[in-house]
């Protein structure tokens, strides 16, 4: 194929995806305006190729070979999602199935008075009109898949915590894919607003109703998800994002975070699913003294590709960012990490560290890693690094020489590698479930 035909296919595929859009579920003017504006923008774009610097290591051509359809509405029984419900979050969950809000599976009785959680209609009219101030306001909202979502979303998942409200019970936000026989496109959109001095723990999950292990293969679908999180002054958000789409799925997701003065954001990105996944993390600072913690664990095998691109962009002084992203890569899987931390002149006294560590479990597993610090300010403390290693034969032997069998020894070492990330996850049930997956992957 000549470069020209490639480009043609990239354009027409995007147009096809765009043409799948369905009408908005509500009448809110701000949303309609955003959709129309984004549609016009997407018509100017194409699906990126590996010649695009941002997609150098992740080839999207498998996505082009699938013909996607609109998502069917499916009636999912509570029993199908039962095993995924978090015991720490009773009566505190929102469930979307194939992109549509599912009231019968949702339950927010544990949330305190005054917290809005649900879809757009959960918001009072005056808040609905404010949506335009929050959606697609982050600097990189024109990115092709984010814009595709902005042009196509039909409803929103909303979590809005008013001023000073402390939400004690974690909120579970489930985006369930229930694919039928045809490959479908779903475009979940989520907005989290934590007003000043409020606090929230959020568990955002992408899962599939697949029999057996959730990571096993099933019907292909494309999940193009965008979540925007706003932290007003001194707000505190602890955010877990678990991506467990089925092993045939494509997942492209953006988490865009905007932090006002003195706010604290902790993020735990756990990536296990999808044949091809891309997660964009964007953190933008709109006030000084913010604290940002980004933890990530990618656990992949078979022929999975998982790409994490993160940007933490400073604009004000006295910020702190700590990022630790780990990948455990088995079989013929391929992990990509690209982490940017941008510290311009205005962001004096910034304290930033970034580390990407990769553990390869098989000789055919691959990793591309690129930490990127862009620092102009002179009075800052910044560090970064990346490592790629295999299980050390001498470490395995040391454990074996004390009586642990080979599998137990290897498990212990991989567990130890994952533990640094998992121990920070604020829900015990989730820590255990993922640790179980870690053990399970090693045995494969």
């Amino acid at each position: 194929m000549s470069p020209e035909t490639i480009t043609k296919q990239q354009v027409s595929s995007l147009t096809q995806l765009l043409n799948l859009r369905e009408p908005l579920a509500t009448e809110v003017t701000a949303l309609k305006t955003l959709r129309d504006r984004s549609e016009a923008w997407v018509r100017e774009l194409a699906i990126p190729t590996t010649r695009d610097e941002e997609w150098r290591f992740t080839d999207l051509s498998p996505l082009l070979n699938v013909e996607f359809n609109t998502a069917p509405s499916v009636d999912v029984k509570q029993s199908r999602i039962e095993t995924c419900l978090l015991p720490e979050a009773p009566q505190s969950r929102l469930v979307f199935v194939n992109g549509a809000y599912t009231e019968s599976l949702s339950d927010v009785r544990a949330l305190p008075e005054g917290v809005w959680a649900g879809n757009v209609s959960a918001l009072p009219p005056e808040k609905q009109e404010q949506l335009g101030d929050y959606l697609a306001r982050h600097p990189n909202h024109g990115e092709v898949f984010t814009a595709l979502n902005s042009a196509s979303f039909t409803d929103l998942a909303i979590v809005w915590v008013p001023r000073g409200k402390i939400v004690e019970t974690p909120l579970q936000l489930m985006f369930v894919a229930s694919p039928t026989d045809k490959a479908m496109l779903t475009q979940p959109r989520c907005l989290v607003v934590a007003e000043s001095n409020s606090s929230l723990t959020l568990v955002e999950e992408y899962i599939a109703t697949t029999e057996g292990c959730p990571d096993s293969q099933g019907v292909a679908y494309f999940n193009n998800a965008v979540t925007e999180v706003w932290l007003h002054e001194n707000a505190d958000v602890n955010h877990v994002r678990l991506e467990r789409d089925n092993g045939s799925a494509f997942h492209i997701g953006t988490t865009a975070v905007t932090q006002a003065r003195d706010s604290r954001y902790r993020f735990h990105a756990l990536t296990l699913g999808a044949q091809l996944s891309r997660h964009n993390i964007e953190v933008h600072q709109i006030g000084e003294g913010t604290t940002t913690t980004l933890n990530g664990l990618t656990l992949i095998g078979k022929t999975q590709t998982a790409d994490t691109h993160s940007t933490v962009a400073y604009n004000y002084p006295n910020g702190t960012a700590n990022q630790l992203h780990k990948c455990i890569v088995g079989d013929k899987a391929h992990a990509v990490f690209n982490g940017r931390i941008v510290v311009p002149q205005a962001a004096q006294m910034t304290n930033a560290s970034q580390l990407n560590r990769n553990l390869l479990l098989s000789p055919k597993a691959r990793v591309n890693t690129k930490p990127q610090l862009e620092i102009v300010a002179d009075n800052v403390k910044c560090s970064h690094g990346a490592t790629v290693s295999q299980l050390e034969a001498d470490e395995v032997f040391y454990l074996q020489s004390r009586g642990l069998d080979k599998t137990t020894s290897e498990n212990l070492l991989v567990d130890a590698f994952a533990a640094e990330i998992l121990q920070e996850v604020p829900l015990e049930s989730l820590r255990k479930a993922i640790a179980q997956c870690v053990a399970c992957r090693v045995e494969l």
């Binding site: 034969a393 032997f397 074996q400 009586g403 642990l404 080979k406 137990t408 020894s409 130890a416 533990a419």
Partner: protein
């Protein structure tokens, strides 16, 4: 101690071995009976650590000939973990660090793997902690070392003491100490030696690899062997170590060369 009619624990005959294509062991013979303490000395690179790793079952070392019989069984057929639960213990010359694995968890899992192999029930966390506290005293280690990652950030001496702590817990039949004394100051050496002496009984045996006579003042060997170029070239009692300390290895090597192979 030499015990009359004691059973043979380890019998090595004509052992040869390659590492990455190069022959390192060239026909090694050694016999150790229950109750005995043996010392192997020899110049750098003569194959002492290689021999100890072969006994412990390191997969990188290929045995090309000879035999190793441990308590009447062919040791070479066992995986490293099965050798460990059968009672073979190697205190490493360079104990490795394992970040992220707590020392206490590691010790418990190791201990329980031995219990399991003997058909005994595993000890729970509480019972195990009681046991390990008791053993800490053998090497005068502080309990805080249990909560750190295995050997991570331990000083050289602390690592060696951690090895002996493991030995105290696992109560091996054949203990191989590869330069456990190297790098220890005199106080640490006394602690380690004292620990080893406490653990030595009529039913087990110890093989020490060392460069220094100093250790043998504290742990008195029944036999001393000189290893050179992948073989044991001469053996004797504890006086041999004194002679080596005074005169070096050259005389033994020369004697060996004139006698021929």
């Amino acid at each position: 101690m030499i015990v009359e009619n004691a059973p043979t624990i380890l019998s090595v005959k004509n052992l040869t071995s390659n590492v990455e294509g190069t022959q390192i062991l060239k026909g090694l013979n050694l016999e150790i009976k229950a109750g005995e303490i043996h010392a192997i000395m020899g110049p750098n690179g003569s194959g002492k650590s290689t021999f100890s790793k072969i006994l412990a079952g390191h997969p990188d070392y290929e045995v090309t000939g000879g035999e190793v019989i441990y308590k009447g069984e062919n040791l070479l057929e066992l995986e490293a973990d099965d050798r460990a639960t059968a009672g073979v213990f190697l205190a490493f010359q360079y104990p490795i660090e394992i970040p992220g694995v707590s020392n206490l968890d590691f010790l418990r899992v190791a201990y329980n793997s031995h219990r399991k192999a003997r058909g005994l029930e595993e000890l729970d966390t509480f019972d195990f902690e009681d046991l390990v506290e008791e053993k800490l005293d053998v090497v005068k280690m502080r309990a805080e070392f249990l909560n750190r990652s295995v050997n991570e950030g331990f000083s050289g001496g602390e690592k060696k003491r951690n090895e002996i702590l493991q030995m105290a817990l696992l109560e091996p039949t054949l203990s191989i100490l590869d330069e456990t004394d190297s790098g220890l100051d005199i106080d640490a050496l006394k602690i380690v030696a004292n620990g080893v002496n406490q653990l030595a009984t009529e039913d087990n045996c110890t093989l020490m690899i060392t460069h220094y006579q100093r250790l043998l003042d504290y742990i008195v060997p029944d036999f001393v062997h000189v290893m050179y170029d992948g073989r044991i070239i001469t053996s004797g009692d504890k006086d041999l170590a004194l002679k080596l300390e005074e005169q070096g290895y050259d005389w033994a090597i020369e004697e060996f060369a004139t006698v021929g192979v």
